[in-house]
């Protein structure tokens, strides 16, 4: 009973420089830095915000690719800097983001809060298939879940991952797969 064609689902695609915009801002975390390097090749002037991750530090490559790079010490610092930047930027902005799904969800939320819509925003997911899943029973957010059924880290229930995405929680909905006949799934 997995439903498809749900409009709230996030759309990911390889970042492409959109020259209909007048100002460009790109953010990335960890391995997402690679997408920024590709984008920088096509971009004219693009302000970049980057945060490294343990095991995925592309700081040097990102710095080499763009002239205007700010490296944030953490994701929280990056989000704060992003908020400051968006508050002062005018209409005509194009916004690019690359990273894992958690990161994309967080930056999308900040961007939407500042009035950006899907026509002004692009997201590239570096770990496709790994979804954030919210357990409706114990409210745990499970990171990087792959597959349609996975155990919840919070309560151990086997969760069926529905194609039902919450932008507020930035997660897919997980419901107990074998609630009717426990142990069957």
């Amino acid at each position: 009973m997995l439903v498809t064609g749900i409009k709230s689902m996030p759309v990911y695609r390889p970042l492409q420089f959109d020259d209909s915009g007048k100002v460009h801002l790109a953010v990335a975390r960890g391995a997402g830095g690679d997408a920024l390097r590709r984008l920088a090749g096509a971009a004219r002037a693009c302000k970049v915000l980057y945060a490294a991750e343990a095991g995925a530090d592309l700081t040097q490559a990102v710095r080499a690719g763009s002239a205007d790079v700010t490296v944030a010490a953490s994701t929280a610092a990056l989000l704060q800097q992003l908020g400051h930047a968006l508050a002062s930027l005018p209409m005509g902005l194009r916004f690019y983001a690359a990273g894992d799904e958690d990161f994309l969800a967080e930056v999308s939320r900040v961007a939407e809060l500042h009035g950006l819509d899907s026509a002004e925003m692009q997201c590239e997911c570096v770990a496709p298939g790994a979804r954030r899943v919210y357990c409706v029973h114990c409210r745990t957010c499970n990171a990087a879940v792959s597959g349609a059924i996975a155990p919840c880290a919070g309560c151990g229930r086997k969760l069926l991952v529905r194609d039902h995405y919450s932008r507020r929680l930035a997660a897919f909905m997980g419901v107990m797969a074998d609630a009717e006949t426990p142990g069957a799934a």
Partner: protein
């Protein structure tokens, strides 16, 4: 109430606002409340003339929180087909008319952070009801209103009371041109622009927005076209099994209605797409005037909006 049912209304007040514009206040003929609407909505007014029934769309100017009355602003167009002349010359206080329930093709996007409203002349009308909404929402907005000369600025005093310093009035012949690029420059993220006015103004705003990097999703416009005149032609209504003659001054939709065939419509001005008809066969040229069909749909030769579009051919067969 079914959407296709018209409502009897009585004209309770007529005000001459400018030499060309009158504002009509309409109340339900039986004293009932009128259907609720949102800012930017329009109604279609039916007027029984001597030789024909006029149906013209007019934006609602009254507050969406007042359903005891509707107000519309009608600009007299002497070279037009007679609907606005009828309103100006025949309709008196106390006259009875029929209107269709409101439809909104020009709503405010209430999730946005700021709204820029740009009006030219009679294009100010839909913004009156939107202003009432904006006052309640408390969202920042600007109203830019251009008129040809001071005598056409009859709504300005009222707008000043509603919008205060957010109103920017441009009187063209006093050397106060409205520069769209300047208005759009430096607006914060999450701003939308709404424009209603002459075709040239709408096009100029859309171009200025594009040039400033605004995506189309932040640009909204409304313009109702009067059905343009053209060479008479004949249309075969395949499903009804009849043939109608479309006169030079009549629209295809009106000809279909006059033949007693029920056709669906909302705006009658080429904007909404509700009256779209499938063209089964034609041996000439489809003369599209609407704002609705895409370039690809026009090129396909399979679709026609009978409210404003015509045909220049010997044989036209429609799926109705």
């Amino acid at each position: 109430m079914k959407p296709q049912e018209s409502i009897p209304v009585r004209v309770t007040r007529i005000e001459a606002v400018t030499p060309l514009v009158k504002r009509f206040t309409l109340c339900h003929a039986d004293g009932e409340d009128l259907p609720a609407f949102s800012g930017g909505s329009h109604i279609v007014v039916e007027m029984q003339g001597e030789d024909r029934l006029h149906r013209n769309p007019y934006s609602l100017m009254s507050s969406p929180w007042e359903t005891c009355q509707y107000q519309i602003g009608v600009r007299r167009v002497d070279e037009g087909r007679g609907g606005s002349r009828f309103m100006h010359e025949q309709v008196k206080e106390g006259s009875l008319l029929r209107v269709r329930a409101p439809v909104n093709l020009f709503p405010l996007l209430k999730t946005r952070r700021k709204h820029i409203l740009i009006a030219g002349g009679i294009g100010i009308t839909p913004f009156f009801s939107q202003l009432a909404e904006l006052q309640r929402l408390g969202t920042p907005y600007e109203l830019h209103y251009a008129v040809r000369s001071q005598e056409h600025a009859g709504f300005a005093a009222e707008l000043l009371r509603l919008a205060g310093e957010r109103l920017h009035l441009y009187v063209e012949d006093a050397g106060q041109p409205l520069h769209f690029a300047k208005v759009l420059a430096g607006q914060p993220l999450g701003t939308d622009v709404y424009v209603c006015g002459p075709a040239g103004m709408i096009e100029a705003v859309r171009q200025a927005a594009r040039a400033a990097g605004w995506p189309d999703s932040h640009v909204h416009w409304e313009q109702f076209l009067a059905p343009p005149a053209g060479a008479p032609f004949e249309a075969v209504l395949a499903r009804s099994g009849i043939t109608v003659q479309v006169g030079a001054e009549t629209s295809l939709l009106e000809a279909i209605e006059a033949a007693g065939v029920k056709a669906s419509y909302l705006c009658r001005g080429g904007a909404c797409g509700q009256c779209e008809l499938e063209v089964l066969e034609h041996d000439g040229e489809l003369v599209h005037h609407d704002h609705y069909l895409s370039i690809e749909e026009r090129a396909s030769g399979r679709k026609l909006m009978p409210c404003v579009s015509r045909a220049n051919c010997q044989r036209l067969v429609l799926a109705i």
